[in-house]
């Protein structure tokens, strides 16, 4: 003698429908909990995937070296700075295949009355494509190293996002104001780069590129902002990094894509755990809500339980009937929460600081870098099933209480 599962769920549905408001509120609690978990996990893993993709673009055999001063803009005095001598020294280290020094400044780029925030970068034009794999010219040519007015602009400078009109084109003048300076520099656009996006937190599309020599003259400094050190093979990276660090001590900051990846991974995984546990707490609160609702329900339906016993329902069947109400609440909450979480994760994604429009020099400068939430099948499945599991746990004790009720006492209950 076995009750049909479909009958049990039909009865459970009728019981939930009978107490509409209470059921809706309980389910809402579950929905919010599971939505928060899904949204937070999806967006934080989306964030980490996005950052990792940026880092990986630079290639596993490239290190960046910058003077430790770079992060403290107002600092000065006797702080160490990188010069051509350092380029030669590092180039002589074993395992190093190339050293590409660069100048980099935050800049306001204007043309024809409108302007955007971006960066100015002085770098050997031929090294550009070596560094940024997949980058190409959209139009024109790369700037002549000995023409101080020649520049190549990122795609977003030529074709600003959200604007139908071209900001600038080939052989047009473009004006660049550096940082907080009041005077500006003028360049002639010789080339427009293809749309590329962000790499290492700086957005290529918002950057105007001039030759290293031009930058040296225009910025009036022999000291570079930093340099890319390319090794022969990715396995040389660790040794080269060690050699540079032991040679310069704390005067320079050496970053390898691998190290950055692992530090980003550890930050984002902590973020995921942290955000996930916030969702977990809200689901726990929802679970307490289920337990509470079910206790009230079991108490209210004491007489009904007595009737079921008299009609010959076994304790396990009665337990199953009450548990199935919890399962149903959990399932509806899980489906609703998954849909809600899906929508919510895109809202969160849009609000994250990394995907907004803020543009700063050097670090996290990526303007149009977007991080869309990542939904793995496992995550969706988890988001659908976890609330059911929680609901079962929450409903277990009330359902057990219902099952072991004394029939005679239950039937007398008013």
């Amino acid at each position: 003698m076995q009750v049909r599962v479909s009958d049990v769920f039909k009865l459970a549905f009728k019981a939930l429908r009978d107490r509409k408001l209470r059921s809706v509120l309980t389910i809402l609690g579950i929905m919010i909990g599971s939505a928060i978990i899904l949204a937070l996990i999806a967006s934080s893993s989306g964030l980490s995937v996005g950052i990792e993709a940026q880092i990986e673009r630079i290639g596993a055999n490239t290190l960046t070296v910058s003077s430790a001063r770079q992060f403290f803009v107002s600092g000065g005095g006797t702080t160490f700075q990188l010069s051509q001598d350092d380029v030669n020294i590092i180039r002589s280290f074993q395992g190093v295949s190339d050293v590409i020094p660069y100048y980099s400044r935050g800049a306001t780029i204007s043309s024809g009355g409108s302007s955007i925030q971006g960066a100015l970068m002085g770098v050997d034009a031929s090294a550009l494509f070596k560094l940024y794999k997949g980058l190409s010219l959209h139009d024109g040519t790369l700037p002549d190293p000995y023409d101080p007015t020649a520049a190549a602009v990122g795609y977003a400078i030529a074709f600003p996002q959200g604007s139908s009109s071209q900001l600038t084109g080939l052989n047009q003048m473009i004006s660049v104001t550096l940082g907080s300076s009041t005077s500006s520099l003028a360049f002639l656009v010789k080339g427009v780069l293809s749309a590329y996006g962000s790499v290492l937190f700086s957005n290529i599309d918002d950057t105007i590129f001039i030759s290293l020599q031009s930058a040296q003259i225009l910025l009036k400094t022999p000291y570079f902002s930093g340099m890319y050190v390319v090794t022969h093979t990715p396995s040389d990276v660790a040794v080269v990094q060690q050699n540079i660090e032991s040679f310069y001590g704390t005067q320079v900051r050496v970053m390898s894509p691998g190290a950055m990846l692992s530090s980003v991974e550890s930050i984002t995984s902590q973020l995921t755990v942290f955000l996930g546990s916030i969702g977990g707490v809200s689901l726990f609160v929802a679970a307490v809500g289920i337990t509470n609702t079910m206790f009230v329900s079991v108490m209210e339906r004491t007489r009904e339980i007595g009737i079921l016993k008299a009609l010959g329902y076994r304790p396990k069947q009665i337990m199953g009937m009450f548990l199935s109400e919890a399962i149903l609440s959990g399932a509806i909450g899980g489906v609703g929460g998954t849909l809600l979480g899906y929508v919510l994760s895109f809202l969160i994604g849009g609000a994250l600081p990394f995907s907004g429009g803020s543009r700063g020099p050097a670090f996290f400068g990526g303007g149009s870098a977007s991080f869309s939430p990542v939904f793995t099948p496992e995550l969706i499945l988890f988001s659908l099933l976890f609330p059911i599991g929680i609901a079962v746990l929450a409903g277990l004790y009330p359902a057990w209480r219902a099952a072991r009720m004394n029939a005679v006492v239950a039937l007398k209950y008013e």
């Binding site: 003698m1 009750v3 009728k14 007595g306 009737i307 008299a310 009609l311 010959g312 304790p315 039937l411």
Partner: protein
């Protein structure tokens, strides 16, 4: 599952109900209240018996023991020759589902379910498919004259109609024994007669054993035997008709 324990194998001569020196003591804190103090009775198959007595005489307690809803403190209860003490919770539930129907003074219908859904409940416990359930339940409702009310909820039915639904639910499993606790306590005299006629008809047609707890003379006067309880003991037994007129005899 212990289907085999409950299913047949019992001697055909076994009475429908037999109690042997049954006592029931309720404890509240350290104080004991004896509800039954040694009741022995035999109710044959197809009998129509009433149990009467003043309030607190132990009528309902006895009915609950016979209905396998509550174990006695001492003594033994047999249903169709099956010693209830030897059955576990699940087997007792199975026995109730297969062999016993209950009818209560307060109807005890599930309010959120329609009349037919209420009647279906014991069949759901059996795992009967919905189609079969519906047709059997509808036949049962038709038999008590409520075919048109099948999809109404208890709140939309009169007291008499609700009690007829409850009777349909008690009979839908074709039990061998029906236990009714004040079945006419909450219905008017016209409905009382209808309910009684139905009980007598089922008793005669199917040989179903009925045990009715009642205060109502109209009810106990139409049973074959009246058992009077007082202070937890059988005070008197009266036969109103000859034993050989029992349908099952």
């Amino acid at each position: 599952m212990g289907c085999s324990l409950v299913e047949p194998k019992m001697p055909m001569s076994a009475p429908a109900v037999q109690t042997m020196d049954v006592t029931k003591v309720y404890r509240v804190g350290h104080i004991e209240y004896p509800a039954l103090r040694g009741v022995s009775l035999k109710i044959g198959r197809g009998e129509l018996v009433s149990i009467v007595g003043p309030s607190g005489s132990g009528k309902s307690t006895l009915l609950n023991l016979i209905g396998a809803l509550d174990p006695p403190t001492s003594g033994r209860v047999f249903i169709d020759g099956i010693n209830l003490r030897k059955l576990n919770e699940d087997q007792l539930a199975l026995l109730r589902n297969r062999r016993i129907g209950f009818v209560y003074q307060s109807f005890n219908l599930i309010q959120r379910l329609t009349a037919i859904e209420n009647v279906e409940m014991p069949l759901i416990a059996r795992g009967l498919p919905e189609m079969d359930r519906k047709s059997i339940s509808l036949k049962m409702l038709s038999a008590v004259g409520l075919r048109r009310e099948a999809n109404k909820r208890p709140t939309e039915l009169s007291g008499g109609e609700q009690q007829r639904v409850a009777i349909a639910r008690a009979l839908v499993t074709q039990p061998t024994l029906v236990l009714a606790d004040e079945p006419t306590g909450n219905v008017d005299s016209k409905t009382t007669r209808e309910v009684l006629n139905h009980i007598v008809q089922v008793n005669k047609t199917f040989g179903t054993t009925f045990v009715l707890v009642t205060h109502n003379p109209e009810v106990f006067n139409m049973t074959y035997r009246i058992i009077t309880l007082k202070d937890g003991l059988i005070e008197r037994e009266q036969y109103l008709q000859r034993i050989d007129s029992y349908p099952g005899a």
